[in-house]
Amino acid sequence: EPEVTQTPSHQVTQMGQEVILRCVPISNHLYFYWYRQILGQKVEFLVSFYNNEISEKSEIFDDQFSVERPDGSNFTLKIRSTKLEDSAMYFCASSERDYGYTFGSGTRLTVV
């Protein structure tokens, strides 16, 4: 069964550093998303991406965050100048139109 692949599975970074979380969506999917889940809390929407541009973003997704699809397969989330409160599980997802998402297995980001 097709999968969404996320790397790395766990990343530890110093506060103030930049991190890039990587995702390879399912090849025939056209819609891409990033979500985050702070430990013990619910899953929160960050951003959706279609046709090489952001289609929707949440209030969480401020200037500290950016997304990019640098080639035909990867979809990245960049977090500039990380803060302690950015520590969370970050999920990438992709979908076909009107189908349920397929989520990746997540990247656990720890900011120290």
């Binding site: 819609y31 619910k42 279609y50 289609s55 998402y101 297995s105």
Partner: protein, 115 residues
């Protein structure tokens, strides 16, 4: 704005028994989708079942079925013949029709299946 409410933070069920997890939602739209996702200790998000709002028939996937009450805006998940591997956090989620629309999650129900 759409909201999703899961009023049961934790539930427990004996192996082989049946359990029902509750979910209510609020929307003024008519075209939407509802989902249940399972999150085991590995924290991966796994789609369990989906329901299109325009379909009257309740969705079923093996031991998992839903009771979709559109007028009441209720979407409960029934797990039959519970297995130890069903132990997980279960999230109810809502999505408007239109491919780029976000998923809105409830706060989750932690289900423990007891041997």
């Amino acid at each position: 704005a759409q909201t999703v409410t899961q009023s049961q933070p934790e539930m427990s069920v004996q192996e082989a028994e049946t359990v029902t997890l509750s979910c209510t939602y609020d929307t003024s739209e008519s075209n939407y989708y509802l989902f249940w996702y399972k999150q085991p200790p590995s924290r991966q998000m796994i789609l369990v079942i989906r329901q299109e709002a325009y379909k009257q028939q309740n969705a079923t996937e093996n031991r998992f079925s839903v009771n979709f009450q559109k007028a009441a805006k209720s979407f409960s998940l029934k797990i039959s013949d519970s297995q130890l591997g069903d132990t997980a956090m279960y999230f109810c989620a809502f999505r408007l029709g239109g491919a780029t629309n976000k998923l809105i999650f409830g706060t989750g129900t932690l289900l423990a299946v007891q041997p």
